[in-house]
């Protein structure tokens, strides 16, 4: 993809989408008493050691089904632009997977749920991954 693909600013849709994400996180807490961190739910979705893997697997399947349901409801397919440098995407995936396990969370676990709990540990994690992500984008787009 051209790296400078412009995307429109969507404050209303993004706020509403954020509220749905928050409602999901609240559902997970009210029903299961757990943090809705997608990295933790993903690693906990296999019947290895952790208990309660079954609802986590169902949650992941719900995530996977979302674009299909959105298509059925709205009749519109979802527009997205995914970077197509495949070796770089493999590196990105490895870093995201390893980093979220090592750092005990991602955008949802630390970002949404951690900040909602007013966790200082999560705040440090969020500031760290935002800073590294921002610098990475700026270096890849403007410095190289």
């Amino acid at each position: 993809m051209p790296l400078d693909t412009v995307t429109p600013f969507t404050p209303l849709a993004s706020t509403l989408g954020g509220i749905l994400i928050g409602l999901s996180a609240v559902m997970v807490m009210a029903l299961f008493g757990r943090i809705a961190g997608i990295s933790g739910i993903t690693t906990g979705a296999l019947p290895l050691r952790r208990e309660d893997w079954d609802w986590r697997l169902a949650f992941v399947l719900g995530l996977v089904a979302a674009p299909i349901v959105a298509l059925l409801v709205t009749g519109e397919s979802i527009r997205q632009t995914v970077p197509d440098d495949l070796p770089m995407m493999a590196v990105a995936g490895l870093l995201v997977g390893a980093g979220t396990v090592l750092g005990s969370g991602c955008t949802s676990g630390h970002g949404v749920c951690g900040l909602a709990r007013l966790s200082s540990r999560s705040l440090v994690a969020v500031l760290t991954f935002m800073a590294f992500a921002g610098v990475t984008v700026i270096v890849l787009r403007h410095a190289i």
Partner: protein, 141 residues
Amino acid sequence: MRLVLGFASGLLFGLGLILAGMSNPAKVLNFLDVFGTFDPSLAFVMGGAAVTTFIGYRLAWRRKAPFILSDFQIPTRNDVDAPLLTGAALFGIGWGIGGFCPGPAWTALALAAPGTLVFLPAMLAGMAIATILKNRKPALA
């Protein structure tokens, strides 16, 4: 019932990501590109989600236990240690390269873009490798 509700929670999360535009890596990368094609939308996603969760958690915690499982399991640690910082840094670099964090990677799967089909298995492999290393070296845990 717990499987239906687990699925419904994931579906709601995924629909939120799609409505918010977060399932589109280009939008995420533009949020991070403050010196280029900056798109501040994701700040509104995070804000809407965190405020909703902040309020909803406090309502949920009025009960002694959740509806389905027997107890609330909420992280108690407040220390900032090396694995937290290293992990967040690695995650940030990967997020900045691919524009995907774990949730949007799952919601993008069915759209089957080549980049997604490479990213998602690599992410699962990274999670598996880090889990094995974490369990092998207690110092990292």
